[in-house]
């Protein structure tokens, strides 16, 4: 149960399975692929999936590009960035999408009640922690501050890992933090309150994470890509309609505290990575200084 599934030694009548490695991050977003593997969706498509855990894109993108992993999960903005730099990347399916519900999303901006921050507008002039600068976090926070009529450029952003944010907010090291589950719930349990649901508020269908592969692989091995895409779509649909199974499968690759697990919000999972959603992200990025010119995201889709 350490993140990889046992390989099927004897192909159960269906012939040999194609071994496939997928780079994933140990967060809630990727629960459907775990569930999908458990449910046998990938075997049905002739794939023997090994899930490889890594901490972030720094390792997953090069591994996919070099062919060491066939597929990977990544934050969408990072892939737009990579594509802008000339990496041949193809997005196959959506990974995690904002629930679009203000009050019940899997990411938001939190602050302590005594910080004087109650709304997005109050973030102006404050220090806000995000996990990565020039990425989806600061872009969407700027967007909501802008929407609230305050000056987005007056917000100071600091990089910090999500796990460290609850302590930093509670201890006053930062004024506020953009944070995702399960740490969002941890922060709330530690007394913080959500001041903005920046995903839902900036785009109800915000495409936070996606599954991708290299353009090379699409060209070389279209059947495998098709099989993976099909199984992945099935998994995402299954995950969306079975939240209890999702919460159960989390125990196999995370150590989230049961109390947190029950309280937290899950992302929305849908199979389609819509061109429009990707372009909206790119445009947001362009508007808030991530890119010099609006990127062309069409090359990211098959």
């Amino acid at each position: 149960q350490n993140g990889s599934t046992p390989t099927a030694q004897e192909g159960e009548g269906s012939g040999a399975l194609t071994p496939v490695s997928v780079g994933v991050i140990p967060i809630v977003d990727v629960a459907p692929i775990y569930l999908g593997v458990e449910q046998g969706f990938f075997e049905e498509e002739g794939l023997d999936v090994t899930l490889e855990l890594a901490q972030g894109g720094a390792a997953i993108v090069p591994a996919v590009m070099s062919g060491q992993y066939q597929f990977g999960f990544s934050n969408t903005t990072s892939l737009i960035l990579a594509s802008e730099q000339g990496l041949g990347i193809t997005i196959l399916t959506a990974g995690a999408i904002s629930t679009g519900e203000v009050g019940a999303d899997f990411g938001g901006v939190v602050a302590m009640p005594d910080s004087g921050i109650a709304t997005a507008a109050d973030l102006a002039g404050k220090t806000v922690a995000v996990n990565t600068l020039k990425n989806i976090g600061d872009t969407t926070v700027r967007a909501v501050v802008d929407q609230a009529g305050a000056d987005p450029d007056s917000v100071t952003f600091v990089e910090m890992g999500f796990p460290d944010m609850p302590a930093a907010v509670a201890g006053g090291q930062v004024d506020a933090a953009w944070i995702v589950e399960p740490h969002l719930t941890r922060a709330i349990q530690a007394g913080a309150q959500v001041v903005s649901w920046n995903f839902a508020e900036s785009d109800p269908d915000l495409l936070v994470g996606v599954y991708f592969t290299s353009q090379q692989r699409v060209a070389d091995d279209p059947e495998m890509v098709a099989a993976f895409t099909a199984a992945m779509r099935k998994s995402l649909d299954y995950g969306q309609s079975n939240p209890d199974a999702i919460r159960a499968v989390l125990d196999t690759y995370t150590e989230i505290d049961p109390a947190v697990k029950e309280a937290m919000s899950l992302p929305h999972w849908a199979p389609d990575a819509e061109a429009g959603a990707i372009q909206r992200l790119a445009d947001l990025g362009a508007r808030y200084g991530m890119f010099d010119s609006p990127p062309d995201t069409s090359k990211l889709l098959p």
């Binding site: 972030g56 720094a58 990565t132 600091v158 990089e159 930093a168």
Partner: protein, 264 residues
């Protein structure tokens, strides 16, 4: 004439060969993560020395990082030598401290950062602290071993003349251990640079390390490599300063060691 050039030739010969190799091997490279050296060098000026100079990344990111590095390094030097002298001089103290020190020594800085953040915040003090804790170990270990290895005859001489505690430390222990202390300090210099990067990987907003990691994360690979080159250059520069200081501090040692190799 050739004599004056010799050290310069020696210092630049191998780097020139290696750069040449790097250039040649990557000239045709189409690999995204391993771009041609030509591209990296082309990126170099553009990335770090944009106009106006006052707003270039060099001033904005490199200089503050180096300042933190030096601060952390000097703190480590003071604590490392002080603590090392105490621990090296007392068997009981060594036995008492060693397990705890070894425990902390083995803990990766990335996981220490969150705890430090709780106590020191996320500003400069925390980063200086991370750099200092990293630099501490080689200095501390080498000082301890240097102190333990001091010639017993010298120690006896100092004792017989009843040198006070302070003179003992100043004239015997620190000087006697100085060759090894310098070795530790040399090690610490490059570790300091590495930790400068690590300390900026977490909870950072500026700094050379932060910039390099951001480049890496945004897949600006030639820019990232140019940052790595800057790190190396800082290493070379600091080591030049370090060598000059060493030659002054260890003049006796270098003379002593070469005295019998022909007196030159």
């Amino acid at each position: 004439m050739t004599r004056a050039w010799r050290p310069i030739l020696l210092a630049t010969g191998l780097p020139a060969v290696l750069l040449g190799l790097w250039w040649a091997l990557t000239a045709e490279s189409t690999s995204f993560f391993n771009p041609p050296l030509a591209r990296i060098l082309a990126q170099f000026r553009q990335t770090w020395f944009t106009q106006p100079f006052g707003e270039s990344l060099f001033v904005h990111d490199v200089l503050p990082s180096v300042a933190r590095l030096l601060a952390g390094y000097l703190v480590a030097l003071a604590i490392g030598v002080g603590l090392g002298v105490a621990i090296g001089s007392s068997r009981a103290l060594r036995a008492y401290c060693e397990p705890v020190l070894e425990f902390f020594r083995a803990i990766p800085p990335p996981v220490m950062v969150p705890i430090l953040m709780l106590f020191l915040g996320i500003g400069t003090p925390m980063r200086v602290f991370v750099i200092a804790t990293g630099c501490l170990w080689p200095i501390l270990l080498n000082t301890i071993e240097g102190v333990r290895g001091i010639d017993p005859v010298l120690r006896d001489t100092a004792r017989a003349y009843r040198l006070g505690r302070r003179s003992m430390v100043r004239h015997l222990v620190v000087r006697g251990a100085s060759p090894q202390i310098v070795t530790g300090a040399r090690q610490a210099l490059s570790i300091g640079i590495i930790l400068m990067v690590i300390s900026e990987m977490f909870t950072a907003r500026d700094g050379l390390g932060f910039t390099v990691v951001s480049f890496q994360r945004s897949f600006a690979i030639p820019e990232m490599w140019s940052g790595v080159i800057i790190l190396g250059l800082i290493g070379v520069l600091l080591s030049l300063v370090f060598r000059a200081v060493t030659e002054a501090v260890l003049a006796w040692y270098l003379g002593y060691r070469s005295a019998q190799r022909g007196g030159a």
